[in-house]
Amino acid sequence: MKTLVIYLMAEPETPELARAAVEGGADIVELGFPFSDPLAEGPVIRRASERALARGMRTGACLDVLARTRELIPETPIVPMTYAAILEAYGYARFAADARDRGATSFILVDLPVEEQPALRRIQLVAPTSTDQRIRAACEATDGWLYLVSVTGTTGARTELSPAVPPLVQRVRAVSDMPMYVGFGISTPELARAAGELADGVVVGSRAVEVAENGPDALRSFVASLRAALDT
């Protein structure tokens, strides 16, 4: 069974959307806490961040959404994904404690390199540009699974699987048995299947955020189509 991770931006409607994603077959939900200047994001998630902030989704409100999501999907891991700026302001240890208290399983911090804040256990990212030494450090430090950034680039739908994925998967496999899920650019069932053949799972972000704008039913069937592609 390949793991399917779905990213959603934290907004008032997100708990119901997360439940629909799980009903469609999502194994893990990433919950984006918006930041005003998100350097790793392409246009879709950047715009979703701007919209969420305009609706007042500051850290406290995001933690409330996390708690309500936890109530609706009690069995599914929920992973807040955000930027160091948010934790710098809130306090790293305080954020970790409060997020776990509200049901977070772990965290992803897109712009906090592996050597920073080692006390904060989190899911580490590796990229096609990562050196073998950095891949090893990420595997040793990561919390449960490894996030493989499929492209040299920002988030957003791509039309084909990046040629950087197979060699990156190989380099990670050479040093670790850690589960690895491929994200950035995975937008269709076909791409999910292709990435799933190489790695242990996939992360779908920008496209899920777009589909989620059409409500829980649309998201449920989109996630189900990804699920079906991964399972065949």
Binding site: F35, S36, D37, L39, A40, G42, R46, R47, E50, L53, R58, T59, G60, Y83, A84, A85, I86, L87, E88, A89, Y90, V110, D111, L112, P113, V114, E116, L125, V126, A127, P128, T129, S130, T131, R134, A138, V149, T152, G153, T154
Partner: protein, 370 residues
């Protein structure tokens, strides 16, 4: 983490970390290489027009001795070229053929477009649509120099978003591209590189004022947006404890005066941010100062007390702009007009002011406001 006290660091996606490591190694190699320094010195003298003179502004400040460090006379009209030349030479050493940059007032964009033309490098400059409107001549200059100016139409449509987009471009094209950042901001080692490349201003000015006055100035004053011209001139006097170092921010963009510790564009510094760490908008008539962040070394110099930071309003800057034009025949850029504004009421007799650029680019904006 590399930095200045609690400030600095590398808050960027993993994709960029190896490139920053490579840049740091390349920079250390270059600094240790006499041929790098010789090539840069040659370019600064035969191409850029260094050394720039000191001008005594007698009619601007009667009864006091106020010297202007004339970076406005540098090729392309501002201090930005010092940094652009140095980083272009560095980029070539790293084998990068494509340059990406951000620009606010357009001075850094023009300097970058200039060095790319000079070295035959591909050049892409990101600029906010609001800045393209108010600094039209610089947009046209970049085009004539062969650079591609990419408008940034979201958020504040100014330097903050232009910088984010330049970094996103760099993330996407990091194998072939050098990010030629224009101020002493961004992830390490950029703040250190830009400060070193701009410190030629302070080294020259110190020698020049000692030659003419046989003593050091009581104060050194410079405007601060990201803070590159200020850090460059301050670096000449950091060890001279009796010399006051005074930075002047735009009142509506006072990252040091009213900011808090926060993370923006890859570094921890003093930033206009709310209590949740979200970046707030800056406002200034001067596009070059219209930025909610500042170089981490300035935050460090503020906290240690070595430098002090004041503010000037749009109106004060405009008044100083007019005063310098009428009294000295110099049209300053709106950015150093902020430094000139605070110089007028600073309690000191012998002052060095960084005249970081000339005002041609600002004529439309100034004429509209006067």
């Amino acid at each position: 983490m590399t930095g200045f006290g609690d400030y600095g660091g590398r808050y960027v996606p993993e994709t960029l970390i190896p490139a920053l490591d490579e840049l740091e190694r390349g920079w250390c190699d270059a600094l240790a290489d006499d041929s790098f320094r010789a090539e840069l010195h040659d370019l600064l003298t035969t191409y850029a027009g260094r050394p720039t003179p000191l001008t005594l502004a007698e009619r601007f400040a009667p009864g006091r001795r106020i010297y202007l460090k004339r970076e406005d006379l540098l090729h392309t009209g501002a201090h930005k070229l010092n940094n652009a030349l140095g980083q272009a030479v560095l980029a070539r050493r790293l084998g990068k053929r494509r340059i990406v940059a951000e620009t606010g007032a357009g001075q850094h964009g023009v300097a970058t477009a200039t060095v790319c033309a000079r070295f035959g490098l591909e050049c892409v400059v990101y600029m906010g649509e609001e800045d393209m409107r108010r600094q039209r001549p610089n947009v046209e200059r970049m085009g004539l120099l062969g650079a591609e100016v990419r408008p940034v139409g979201f958020g504040t449509k100014t330097l903050k978003e232009a910088t984010s987009e330049a970094i996103r471009d760099w993330i996407t094209n990091v194998e072939t591209t050098h990010y030629l950042i224009g101020s002493c901001v961004g992830p390490a080692p950029y703040p250190e590189i830009v400060a070193e490349l701009q410190s030629v201003i302070g080294r020259e000015a110190r020698e020049q004022i000692l030659a003419v006055e046989e003593r050091l100035p009581e104060a050194v004053v410079a405007c601060v947006g990201g803070g590159s011209n200020a850090i460059g001139i301050f670096h000449g006097f950091l060890e001279d404890e009796g010399v006051r170092l005074v930075g002047v921010e735009a009142a509506g963009a006072a990252s040091l005066g009213s900011g808090r510790p926060a993370v923006l564009h890859g570094a921890r510094s003093s930033v206009l941010a709310d209590e949740d760490g979200q970046i707030e908008d800056a406002h200034s008539i001067s596009a070059g100062l219209d930025y909610p962040g500042v170089g981490p070394e300035h935050a460090f110099l503020r906290d240690t007390g070595r430098a002090e930071y004041l503010t000037a309003t749009d109106e004060e800057a405009l008044a100083a702009f007019q005063a310098l034009a009428r009294s000295e025949g110099l049209l300053p850029a709106l950015e150093p007009a902020h430094a000139l504004a605070r110089t007028r009421d600073l309690d000191a007799e012998l002052i060095l002011v960084g005249l970081s650029g000339r005002g041609d680019k600002d004529l439309a904006e100034v004429l509209e406001r006067l």
